[in-house]
Symmetry: C2
Subunit: 338 residues, 2 copies
Amino acid sequence: MSAVGLHRVVEPQGVLPQAATRLDTDPAIHPDEVRIAVERLNLDAASFRQLTQEGGDIRSRVLEIIETRGKMHNPVTGSGGMLIGTVEEVGPGSPLGLKPGDRVATLVSLTLTPLRITDGLANWSGTSEQVPCAGHAILFGRSIAAVLPDDLDDDLALAVFDVCGAPALVDRVVRSYGSPRVAVLGGAGKSGCLALAAARRSGAARTLGLVPSTSEKQLLDRVELADVSALADARDPVATAAAVTGALGGPADVTVVCVDVPGCEHGAILATAPGGTVIFFSMATSFPAAALGAEGLAADVTMLIGNGYVPGHAEAALGLVRAEPGVRALFQARLAAH
Amino acid sequence: MSAVGLHRVVEPQGVLPQAATRLDTDPAIHPDEVRIAVERLNLDAASFRQLTQEGGDIRSRVLEIIETRGKMHNPVTGSGGMLIGTVEEVGPGSPLGLKPGDRVATLVSLTLTPLRITDGLANWSGTSEQVPCAGHAILFGRSIAAVLPDDLDDDLALAVFDVCGAPALVDRVVRSYGSPRVAVLGGAGKSGCLALAAARRSGAARTLGLVPSTSEKQLLDRVELADVSALADARDPVATAAAVTGALGGPADVTVVCVDVPGCEHGAILATAPGGTVIFFSMATSFPAAALGAEGLAADVTMLIGNGYVPGHAEAALGLVRAEPGVRALFQARLAAH
């Protein structure tokens, strides 16, 4: 069980590191751990907004949280973020495949990562969620970290890592069907365009990107990541099913939900053929709406909770960005708009 | 699209029957519809409680809802219930396999079922969620109804129908693994005991029922539905994983969550082997807790939203009740305690 970091939990005893109020940040690593020299924290947007609104000296407040808890776990929002750094030491039993000197991003939340800051955050202005810093962090046997590529900007790589579970799971599901018809709701977004690229490469017979506006449709058509695009509000089940069925010549065998607004469950279910699969990647997905919706529609569909972790997902997603100019163009457009 | 009843939606136009504020209850059926002579409504527990607490004449209130909306769809709770009745007329294109005279229970919610009451609910006391009545209801092409068996009490059959999606989906998943190790969290409950019975019959190598108390453990051990039972609070991830791993001799290949309390996601994920599947049947499941939990634990597991509909699920579940004295005993104990 130490692979998930139980031995680093100071209090309360017996809970997982994420649920802990305090972690042990001892720099001496266990045999399956890795120590990282931290270069930058990326606070998650919700946490940074809350800390800003709280008023007071944000730098002292972040330092206080990290020192008290042994991790950057915002007690109000419950959220964390991720970090960038360089591998300092790798335990002989670490399964992560890292070596000293690797520049990495952690793909597990800061809410479960032991962290100690040694420079008082002196170089942080306090006005951005990007926090330059010095200190160390610990990765467990079952943590996830990705080596930052030399050929891509950090910001682009981080944006890709943020959604890299989507193309990996789409690849697995599409291959299990052979050559299915695939619909991606929210096809012009970050996870959506990666899902479309993965579906085509994994053997989809035909891919559809569903988008909510003509500007997104033009964007998606220009990058040619989907065989066909269609316009519909994914919250409207009847319109969504009609758009998917019309564009694909029948319901989808695999429907991928990448629209981050509530209420897209019924449209996705109705757009999917009997025996098909709906993959929900949106955190706005309602479990009861999906479960009861499928029952109410007598829909014999498999419904997957999009797992953000599939082995090899980060490298595979970077590979898509390198191989597909359309994916890169969409990500860069979104980063520039930010 | 008429298979889901769009033609019965009066307002607003273009939404699914469940989202409609008013349905058309015309007794003249479309080619793929079925008309039922209603004998009893079972209001869902949340709706009945709200109506009782609202005060006033509950009979008038229920009649007013049904007359205004053309369905028994509680506007406060958003919930409905189901009904029992006898098939009166079957359209030539109905795929439901029903014939006039069949006594059936509807397995789709009253919130999407056109309903007209003709006896003013004169025989209802107003003190029970069981509402004897006369009138008619309409089933669509994609509705679900199950014929009530002659050899089992209505109450037992209805309790089985309520959770019949669980054993059907467990059967499908267990068969896809060959002979997996299966853990059922909440194994002594209604869906849990059916899941255990289904897992064993579908070829599970070893089945475990996890329960939260010694009384439930004794109950489960007595009926011998699980190869082994274990005690743990399913909301405690570390204890749950340890109990499952200890009892099965390793993590489960298939973990089934039938515990209707929040916070069981991480324990289920941690108890499951890489490449395994977690099936969430509890409506208390949190989508983000499951998605982020798997990522935080670097768990390569497939996570399924338990779909309440699998073709043939009702008949299969009744078959388990008939074949497994342990299932029948557990259901009857729970019905008697009610």
